[in-house]
Symmetry: C2
Subunit: 342 residues, 2 copies
Amino acid sequence: MVTIKDVAKRAKVSPGTVSNALTKKRPVSKETQQRIHNAIKELGYQPNMLAQSLVARRSQTLAVVASGLEYYGTSRIIVGIEKAANELGYTLLLTLIADPSEINLSRALEPLTARRVDGIVWAVPEIGGNHSWITRKRLAALPPIVFHRMKPRAGLQVVAIDNRTGAMLATQHLINQGRRTIGLITGPKNWWETRERRAGWEQAFERAGLVASASLIVEGDWTAASGEHAITRLLAQRRDLDAVFASNDQMALGAMRMAQLLGRKIPQDLAIVGFDNIPESAFFSPPLTTVYQQLIEAGVASVNALHRMIEARHDGHANMKPRATFLMPELIVRESSTPPPR
Amino acid sequence: MVTIKDVAKRAKVSPGTVSNALTKKRPVSKETQQRIHNAIKELGYQPNMLAQSLVARRSQTLAVVASGLEYYGTSRIIVGIEKAANELGYTLLLTLIADPSEINLSRALEPLTARRVDGIVWAVPEIGGNHSWITRKRLAALPPIVFHRMKPRAGLQVVAIDNRTGAMLATQHLINQGRRTIGLITGPKNWWETRERRAGWEQAFERAGLVASASLIVEGDWTAASGEHAITRLLAQRRDLDAVFASNDQMALGAMRMAQLLGRKIPQDLAIVGFDNIPESAFFSPPLTTVYQQLIEAGVASVNALHRMIEARHDGHANMKPRATFLMPELIVRESSTPPPR
DNA sequence: TTGTAGGCGTTATCAA
DNA sequence: TTGATAACGCCTACAA
């Protein structure tokens, strides 16, 4: 590997001058500048960022910790994160948590802190107590960090989707369509996102003066198969069911298909709304009404916030006041919940 | 930040001894070992891997360059890569290419080589001439690298899915079902994967003595919407169409839905097969016959190969002989191509 | 078994 | 404008 010294030797200057020519932090004469650049080309010199980071005490590297990359939501968040990181001149370290309900914190974080990442985006869904590791003490030992998919906590920088409002929009839409017996297929009940979406469903019920009976709720596990089971149970225990809000599009798909197999016409007999707006959902039979989340935007926002935190800490400013940002979802109405066009 | 010197001072030993205690490359007495570990705990010392990498001349970091993370295929490959990298003690750097048909090579690679990654997994689909940057000279300046989703080239380590065989399996299956006029919906035609899948379709035609007429082929862009357009055109230009092989599941979905809207019964009037086996495909109406690719396994295999290359180079062995590995896809038969159960 | 010194590749400080 | 020199945090000979 060719180093800055090799370049210096070849250009007949000192290493420091080469450094100055490269970083432009001190003036270098046009002439030597030229010689240096020639030497660099000829030798194929590439600065070693490890060494740079060592002295600069910053690595220009961000880390993202996530789980379920194979799901649409996670991957879109990461697309946004990568994009924003890139634009700000950071490179991204990716760590995947295989089982988010059981986080081995030091195993996940050590490789990142050891590499002196400048900041961390924590995008692991909050499940049960899997975020209880978050303590002031622990955070003090970490670089700036911003959280996703988590219940906002005082003193933390959080970028979250307003799941509750999203679910409320979905449910209210069904109510507006004249539906009165609206089932709910939830995700695993210890997920924060599950509870939020359920709360939104309940809130819509309350506003409409409907009764959110337990017999209207069935738990799923985000898979389409669980959507099938859920709708089967719902239809059995509530003969009067006339609509369903499924907490994601996959479960909505399973529910829709199984309901059809059981002889229900959608949306005439049963209206269905999902959550996520996966690209396929517009092509289901019938096309699925669903809730769109600005996931890429959430990823971008989190990196921007992170960058500000990093700069603030670096400039020795009093630590930026962290806050929670909520992104508003939008309802996308399709045929699974509306009278078909004549 | 507390350094190894701080630990040394506190444990009343030299920095070298602390290093030895940590790396276990030289023996350290039980007693001082204890003192050192106490000091580490008390100070909350964390080794600085940047400094370690600087002297070790390896960063224990791998990079993956990919595009289209929001698609199922890409994300599954990366899941496999991350898993294997993790198990081998590497951390992963992620770089996403926004437009894979137009790669800015140095923009993508510089941040990686500057950080002295030990190896690179190149998982950008081959489109047109976007892989023409691959030259002996350029590769010589890079760390070991393994390629994905690319036509195998002599002298390169490639892990690819056998797309051609996969498409052949799909088409042969349709032929076995008695279909004779089997349309093809392709991806964008300058993609390597597109050409391979088309070749597989043609190969099956040849073996069966069928004529692969141009009127049976329509180009899509991987989206479900393009599948809709494609099937519309196919049905218009070939009234005798009795089956379709779509080059991915999304296009199959669009085709299936549009064919049904146009009054075709699936599979009775028109049999459909897709490619990818996205999780939703088992819940389409009807469930979609498709081709399963071992993408996670491909990711794992590529990292293992990369690791061997790194070790070989490190041990000064003659560079490992690189070769191409093909993973065989499997046909998954569902109702979209078979007579429905009575 | 432990300490000392030099070096990994850069940048920053201080003279010149 | 340029050149020495000393860090940055760690590892590794070589001595002791």
